[in-house]
Each structure stands twice: as structure tokens, then as C-alpha cells.
């Protein structure tokens, strides 16, 4: 009897959590998808940032200011500075990473190298004219800003988790979601900040 009681309570807990976890829309929405290849159904489980920014008002920069601040703070807390204190790699490698928009789709493999996808949205080296404009131009990024500790750490942080600075930025959280590893991020840092990088010529 006691056992049955426990079972019933457990069942109730499960029902209660799933009711909180998923709205009707979320259920109907999820029912319209199937996992395929590396793109599992867990990709529809949104974290607080994604939930907040799924509201067009919040996406437009308005809405609950306190919530926005809390989300930025939580994202800021995820940022890990480079383990060995080294921020810069090879800008030439960084250029390759910036060019590639590949990876993480259901037609990719688990070992497909994910690109930075930077040129999809940003102008970077002016020589590359096939660039998007969803993000700001990064031409002369280091030349304009210099490479003080603040600039270097901000840039690392922005690449690592853009939502720390703007809750609903369109930019993916590249370090946080491990789209690039530390070494790859160092190469992109060099592309933006190395005085030898064509970006700063």
C-alpha cells in the first residue's frame, strides 16, 4: 500500500513537472518535428534566454528590463577566459574559420567541423565582398579599438557568449554551445585584433 502510494505520488510529480515544462504551443510545435541525424529533439528544449527572446517584444529590445538584466548576467557567468591566458592564435586560420558556415545541421555528421559562420553576417576582411549584414562590420576591428586588456576580454566574451552583452543578440553563443573550441576562438581573435591581420590594415 505504501509502495502504491509512492508510485502515485511519483506519477503526480511527473505530470506536474511536464505541465510546467511544456505549454500547449510547445507540445504542438514539438509534435511537428522528428529527430534527424545529429539534430535531436532536445534542440527544441529552450533555455531561459531562448524562451525570453522567442517573444517578439523582447527580441525588439523592449519588455521586461529586469528579466533582460538577469539573462545577461546569467550568460556573463558562463564565459570562461582562455585556460592558459593566451587569447591569440593565427589570423590565417581565423580567416578560414570565419569563412565556413558549415556544421550542426541534420545533413552534417557529428564530426563535421563547425565553422564560425562569421561572414554570413559580418563584413570582416574587406577583400571578401560576399558578406552578410545582420551583424555590424568588423573591418578595422582592432585598428579602431586597440588591444587593451578590456578590449581583448570583451571580444573574447562576445565571441564566447554574445548574450552576456545583449540578451537577444542575433549572434550565436559560440563558446557556450561549443560551436568553436578555445583554439579556434583564439584564431578568430587574431583575425580581429592582430595588427598583422588584413582586417587591421
Amino acid at each position: 500500500m505504501k509502495k502504491l502510494h509512492l508510485l502515485v505520488s511519483a506519477a503526480l510529480v511527473v505530470v506536474a513537472t511536464s505541465a510546467v515544462a511544456q505549454s500547449k504551443f510547445e507540445k504542438d510545435h514539438a509534435a511537428s518535428f522528428n529527430a534527424k541525424g545529429i539534430a535531436g529533439m532536445d534542440r527544441l528544449d529552450r533555455d531561459d534566454t531562448q524562451k525570453f527572446c522567442s517573444d517578439p517584444v523582447a527580441l525588439g529590445g523592449k519588455g521586461d528590463a529586469k528579466k533582460r538584466e538577469a539573462i545577461e548576467k546569467a550568460n556573463m557567468a558562463t564565459i570562461k577566459l582562455p585556460s592558459d591566458g593566451k587569447y591569440f592564435g593565427d589570423w590565417k586560420e581565423g580567416e578560414k574559420i570565419a569563412q565556413s558556415g558549415r556544421g550542426a545541421t541534420w545533413t552534417d555528421k557529428a564530426d563535421t567541423v563547425i565553422g564560425g559562420g562569421c561572414y554570413n553576417c559580418h563584413q570582416i576582411n574587406k577583400k571578401e565582398i560576399s558578406h552578410g549584414n545582420i551583424g555590424p562590420s568588423l573591418w578595422n576591428y582592432g585598428k579602431i579599438r586597440g588591444n587593451s586588456v578590456d578590449v581583448v576580454q570583451y571580444t573574447w566574451g562576445k565571441i564566447y557568449n554574445a548574450k552576456a552583452y545583449n540578451a537577444c543578440s542575433n549572434m550565436p553563443r559560440i563558446g557556450h554551445f561549443k560551436l568553436l573550441n578555445e583554439d579556434q576562438m583564439r584564431h578568430v581573435m587574431a583575425l580581429l585584433l592582430d595588427p598583422e591581420s588584413p582586417v587591421n590594415k
Binding site: F25, D28, H29, A31, S32, F33, N34, A35, K36, A39, G40, M41, R43, L44, D45, R46, T49, Q50, K51, C53, S54, D55, P56, L59, Q99, A104, T105, W106, T107, Y119, N120, C121, E128, I129, S130, H131, G132, N133, I134, K163, N170, P172, R173, F177, L179
Partner: protein, 266 residues
């Protein structure tokens, strides 16, 4: 001679589409559109679709000629400009593709599950795609007029709007990440702002389309499927609620715009 020129253009355009640095791709495609304005390769699909529409087929050996796409049995003209819409017989809001499948099931005896699980251009799905090409051609030049009156249509519009803004996946993308502002591009590809009437009409009014870079005809379902792939989401099920809801959202937003289907796309 004209045919040879067209083939040459197609070959050179396909080659161009493969280049990473297609610097004036948008201009070139615009020129290409002008040059073949009297002969979109979609015509081949359209002709096949017309045959399929008229030919007795399936377990019931019947044609699709009594298929009701919303404007009465057999009426093809203008039907695509008013879809998706609510259908009483299925008690569902249906887009063109799901409605054609209903007709294939009811009139001809095909199993819709097989069509849903087949891939694009595979099995009976291929026939659906051809019929789509045939039907949308007969709305060319007409005003987009997607209804949003029936409670189920309103429900689907609301779902479409939520789906449009739904952020997820490892890159935090939603439809709005690319299609929520004016004047934006990915690389050199212009992105219509689907939250506006003008932008929605640029999307809704030009798909389904012949897609030059892949050399085949893409239905709206296929267009949305590839958007979700690039969003890094799991795969939307063919003719699932989300896909139809997004079509309702886009179509209603686009109302008053012009149908230019089948379009011709990069």
C-alpha cells in the same frame, strides 16, 4: 536555338552557383530571370502535373479532376492564391500539398502515410510536387488572398506567428533571426522581412519555385524544410501543423501582394 541558349544559361548558372565568391549573383539572377521570362524550367514540372491531374490512377483508378482545392471540385484557377485555408470535410486548415494528398487519398485511394514518409522527389511525393507546379501556375498574376476568418485559421495564424519567433537549437536561431528586419542579407543573399506585408509577399508570392542552384523544383514545404535545416532544428514533418501554420502566417501577412508562382530562385 532558343532551347540551346536556355540550356547554356542553365549550365553556366549552375556553375556560378557553386562559386563561393559569386559577387553579383543577385544581379546575374535578375538578368537570367529576364532572359527566360517566357520559359521558367518549372514548365516541365507543370506539364507533368497537368498529366497527373487528368490521368486515372491509384487503387481506385480515378483522376484528380474532382479535387476540391477550396474553390469547388476541379477548380484550379486561383486556388493557390487562397491557400492554406480551412476545409470542412477534413476539419483542418490545409496547405496546397496537404490538400492534394487528401484528394489522392479520397479520390484515388493512395495512403497518405506513405507520401508523408517519402522524401522530397521520392515515390508518390514526386507526383504531389508536379501537381503543385501545375496548380500554382494557375494563380500567377493573382492577388494573394489567404483567409483568416474561421477559428481554426486564426488558431493556425497564431501558431505560425509563435513558430516564426521560436528560438532554439545550438545557434539560437528562429525564422526571425534572418527574416525579421528590412535590408538584411546572409552573404549576398537578400532576406525578405516576413513580418511586413511587402516582405511576406516576396516570400509567399515567389515560392514554390524552380531553384537554379539545385536544379529542381521546390514546393513551399521543401523551402520551409531547408530553412529549418539551416536553423539547426530537427526536421519538420512533411505537412505537419507547424509547416502549415507558417504558411498561414506568411500568406495572411502577404495578402494583397501578387502571386508570381512558380518563381525562379538562386
Amino acid at each position: 536555338m532558343k532551347t540551346i541558349m536556355k540550356s547554356a544559361l542553365l549550365v553556366s548558372l549552375s556553375a556560378m552557383a557553386g562559386l563561393a565568391l559569386a559577387q553579383s549573383a543577385t544581379d546575374d539572377i535578375a538578368k537570367y530571370r529576364e532572359m527566360i521570362a517566357d520559359g521558367n524550367p518549372s514548365e516541365l514540372y507543370e506539364a507533368a502535373g497537368e498529366d497527373i491531374w487528368q490521368k486515372p490512377m491509384g487503387p481506385k483508378n480515378a483522376t484528380l479532376q474532382k479535387c476540391d482545392l477550396g474553390k469547388g471540385p476541379g477548380v484550379v484557377k486561383g486556388a493557390a492564391a487562397e491557400l492554406p485555408r480551412y476545409f470542412k470535410d477534413t476539419n483542418k486548415v490545409q496547405d496546397l500539398e496537404s490538400r492534394i494528398i487528401t484528394c489522392m487519398e479520397k479520390l484515388q485511394g493512395y495512403d497518405p502515410k506513405e507520401i508523408i514518409s517519402a522524401g522530397f522527389e521520392k515515390g508518390k511525393r514526386k507526383d504531389v510536387e508536379a501537381v503543385v507546379a501545375y496548380v500554382v501556375t494557375h494563380s500567377k498574376g493573382m492577388k494573394i488572398n489567404v483567409p483568416n476568418k474561421h477559428p481554426k485559421e486564426k488558431e493556425m495564424f497564431a501558431m505560425g506567428e509563435k513558430a516564426f519567433y521560436f528560438q532554439g537549437g545550438p545557434m539560437d536561431f528562429s525564422c526571425a533571426s534572418c527574416h525579421g528586419e528590412d535590408g538584411k542579407r546572409i552573404r549576398l543573399q537578400d532576406l525578405p522581412n516576413i513580418t511586413t506585408q511587402k516582405g511576406a509577399a516576396l516570400g509567399f508570392g515567389y515560392w514554390p519555385a524552380y531553384r537554379v542552384s539545385s536544379g529542381n523544383f521546390w514546393t513551399m514545404q521543401r523551402r520551409l524544410n531547408d530553412c529549418y535545416r539551416q536553423q539547426r532544428f530537427p526536421e519538420p514533418i512533411y505537412i505537419s501543423d507547424v509547416t502549415i501554420a507558417l504558411s498561414v502566417y506568411m500568406g495572411v501577412k502577404a495578402n494583397g501582394g501578387e502571386m508570381n508562382t512558380p518563381g525562379l530562385k538562386r
